[in-house]
């Protein structure tokens, strides 16, 4: 197999990893601090995609339309995040995981029916925005420039989250709260307020990544469940609640899938879950995760 073939397959994997990282980072962040396994994260992502489509349609702006729509959709999802956290999640922090999963699954069903009712089952699609419509040549092999945009956005988000968590006071509080929330609370920091903002950030990221997916493929029902399953694989492999873990998990899932497709397409998805199974056996808390206290 020649170098350019391997390289182009590798780049496909990177593009997929970037997309996965965008979505999974929000999921991992919420879990890391709130200790809530938010099954509805994929639904917020789907809603973000549908919203960005409608806003893009409404704006009718040839160049800026998509970018504006993506930001507005993400902001709306942030607001939806406040609602969900305030009305539902806040009552569940003290409960066990089964109840949290059931409650967030209820949100999945509600959003699914909401989307069905509001947008119907049509396949919607946004054309790729300028200037990312074409492709660039990498070692003589074309690579879609929109994929570059997604990779850049993923890197941007990585840097932003790293800065937020490790370089700011807010980040210090987040890390402290993830470690010992009673102690942080005893220091006079309002934990409910902190948790609301973390969830809002997670919902914002979900909405943004949904909007970014819209020009990539089609916006359709079912994209919620599809993404959440892959995101779970990412965070289980990388380690729940760990930023470097999410990055590595996305990379592994993206590349295993890309090369699986090339070598044995029938088993491409199975390969991902085989890796997950191996990680679960050797390090049940994930590569970068911490064992549960």
């Amino acid at each position: 197999m020649s170098f350019d073939v391997l390289f182009s397959q590798f780049m496909s994997g990177i593009a997929r990893a970037a997309l996965l990282f965008l979505v999974a980072s929000g999921l991992s962040l919420t879990f890391g601090v709130l200790r809530v396994l938010n099954f509805a994260h994929g639904s917020l992502y789907m809603l973000g995609a549908f919203l960005s489509y409608s806003i893009w349609k409404f704006l009718l702006m040839p160049v800026l339309g998509f970018y504006l729509a993506a930001i507005i959709a993400a902001l709306i999802m942030g607001a939806v995040g406040i609602l969900i956290e305030y009305v539902l999640l806040r009552r569940l922090y003290a409960r066990g995981w089964p109840e949290q999963l059931l409650a967030t699954y209820a949100i999945v069903l509600i959003i699914m029916d909401l989307v069905k009712w509001a947008w119907g089952g049509e396949f919607l699609s946004i054309p790729r925005p300028k200037p990312f419509t074409g492709a660039v040549l990498l070692f003589g092999f074309p690579f879609p420039s929109y994929n570059f945009f997604v990779i850049l956005l993923g890197l941007g988000l990585l840097v932003f989250l790293w800065w937020l968590i490790y370089k700011t006071r807010f980040g210090d509080i987040i890390r402290a709260a993830a470690h010992d929330r009673e102690m942080v609370s005893a220091l006079g920091i309002p934990i409910p307020w902190l948790f609301t903002w973390i969830f809002v950030l997670g919902a914002f990221i979900a909405g943004l990544s949904g909007a970014v997916t819209a020009p990539f493929g089609s916006v359709a029902l079912g994209m919620d469940i599809e993404i959440i399953i892959e995101c779970f694989a990412v965070v289980v492999i990388g380690g729940m609640g760990s930023l470097p873990g999410t990055l590595l998990g996305s990379f592994i899932v993206g590349e295993v899938y890309a090369f699986g497709i090339m070598l044995k397409p029938e088993l491409a998805i199975a390969f991902i879950f085989m890796v997950m199974a191996v990680v679960l056996i050797i390090r049940p808390w994930g590569i970068f995760g911490r064992p549960e206290r």
Binding site: S12, F123, S125, A135, P144, P215, F216, G217, M223
Partner: protein, 418 residues
């Protein structure tokens, strides 16, 4: 322990008794008063990629029923219909089918969208001896491998559709010897690609199939499949991707220059072309099941006007096939002069029928309609605000239907006797 054993025996006996009572009731209910409406159970999958097909399918049914009822119904009886949702789950499909038959006491069934659901339902309604017509789902297994006399097909099945599409692809790129395929990884995709392989081996001696990609149904990111296919440098690619998956694939493949470098055929029907808008790749080949631009005969265009008045949009093949299914049923009931299932089945076998897709008949052997398959090349048209096809081929079903001898051969293996 003993108590539990006795209890479970009691529960078992009780359930057998109640089931047989319900079944007996269902049979008794058949000869109802002759002025009561004829009830149709419409069962579709309002979920994922099937949601939209199901929705327009039901609109096609509604238009046909309104027309028929306005003219006094069939045999002086009005038509009534109940719509049910399988949610894309085989167990729900089975439950709803049973409920429609036992509780709602429908006389005929129409549906579903997914081939997987269709196979699950077929066992049930055949057991209760209720006739079902399929107007979207099209796996060949329903008429061949798992044949049931209580099933009629008005959609070109996977075999016919893929054979016709393969011939079109071969006609367009006669020199192609090396192929790749990409298809959704479930019943429908597997069947289509198997038929493609069979036909391309007949047409091109020494053909090579370099690589077969099986993305899951509902895949959003085809990038890795696209680069893997292009790395093999095929002469042409055959695909049975459809709906939202095909929209995603097309948008992701375009920046790679895929459509300029590889001749490609897939299910580029009206909803896909509409969703793709300016992104629809001109010069790429499509196959479909018969909508207005594929078969613009007067009857079809009259239906287009009715549909647009009713919904404000153009009808797709799914609406057309459902409309045809209702009129086929009407013709059969009128010929049989009763709604009694066995008589209607007898009437439908070999009966000449003229619908929106022109003439076809239901082959008596396996109840497969000799419905046409359509292929074309994506192109702009000044008459429409979206891209349609040019160089359209209409392949009558008789030319691509599986020969009777071949059907009987498969039946020998699967244990169907007829």
């Amino acid at each position: 322990m003993k108590k539990i054993a006795i209890l479970s025996v009691l529960v078992f006996v009780f359930s057998i008794v109640s089931v047989s009572m319900v079944m007996a009731q269902a049979k008794k209910a058949a000869p109802a008063s002759t002025k009561e409406p004829i009830k149709l159970g419409v069962i579709y999958d309002f979920v994922g990629g099937c949601h939209m097909y199901s929705e327009t399918g039901v609109k096609g049914i509604k238009i046909a029923l309104d027309e028929i009822n306005a003219k006094g119904g069939i045999l002086g009886r009005k038509l009534d219909f109940i719509v049910r949702d399988t949610e894309g789950k085989a167990d729900v499909a089975v439950r709803e089918t049973k409920d429609l038959i036992l509780r709602e006491k429908v006389h005929f069934l129409i549906g579903p969208c997914s081939s997987g659901m269709g196979l699950a339902m077929q066992v049930i309604h055949s057991e209760y001896k209720v006739l079902r017509i399929s107007a979207i789902a099209n796996t060949e297994a329903m008429t061949v491998d798992k044949f049931s006399p209580y099933f009629v097909q008005v959609v070109p099945n996977t075999y016919m559709e893929a054979i016709a599409a393969t011939r079109y692809l071969h006609k367009k790129v006669p020199t192609a010897k090396k192929f790749c395929t990409i298809a959704p990884d479930y019943e429908f995709g597997r069947r289509e690609e198997a038929a493609f392989e069979e036909e391309i081996k007949r047409l091109v001696p020494g053909v090579e199939i370099l690589y077969q990609a099986w993305p899951k149904l509902g895949e959003k990111d085809f990038t890795a499949f696209i680069t893997a296919i292009m790395a093999k440098k095929p002469d042409a690619v055959h695909s049975s991707l459809f709906g939202g998956d095909l929209v995603s694939f097309t948008k992701q493949a375009a920046p790679y220059g895929f459509f300029q470098s590889v001749p490609f055929i897939a299910l580029y029907d009206f909803p896909v072309l509409l969703a793709l808008g300016p992104d629809a790749p001109e010069g790429t080949f499509g196959f479909g099941r018969g909508c207005f631009f594929m078969d613009p005969n007067p009857k079809m265009m009259e239906f287009v006007e009715k549909f647009r008045k009713f919904t404000g949009t153009y009808p797709d093949a799914w609406a057309v096939q459902n409309y045809d299914a209702i009129y086929l049923l009407k013709a059969a009931i009128e010929k049989a002069k009763t709604i009694e299932t066995e008589a209607v089945i007898k009437a439908i076998e070999g009966m000449p029928f003229e619908g929106l897709r022109q003439k076809f008949t239901i082959r008596p052997l396996d109840h497969m309609g000799t419905v046409p398959c359509y292929q074309g090349t994506i192109a702009k048209d000044p008459n429409y605000p979206f891209k349609i096809w040019k160089d359209i081929t209409r392949v009558p079903g008789e030319q691509v239907i599986r020969p009777e001898a071949s059907v009987r051969e498969i039946w020998k293996k699967t244990g169907v006797t007829r």
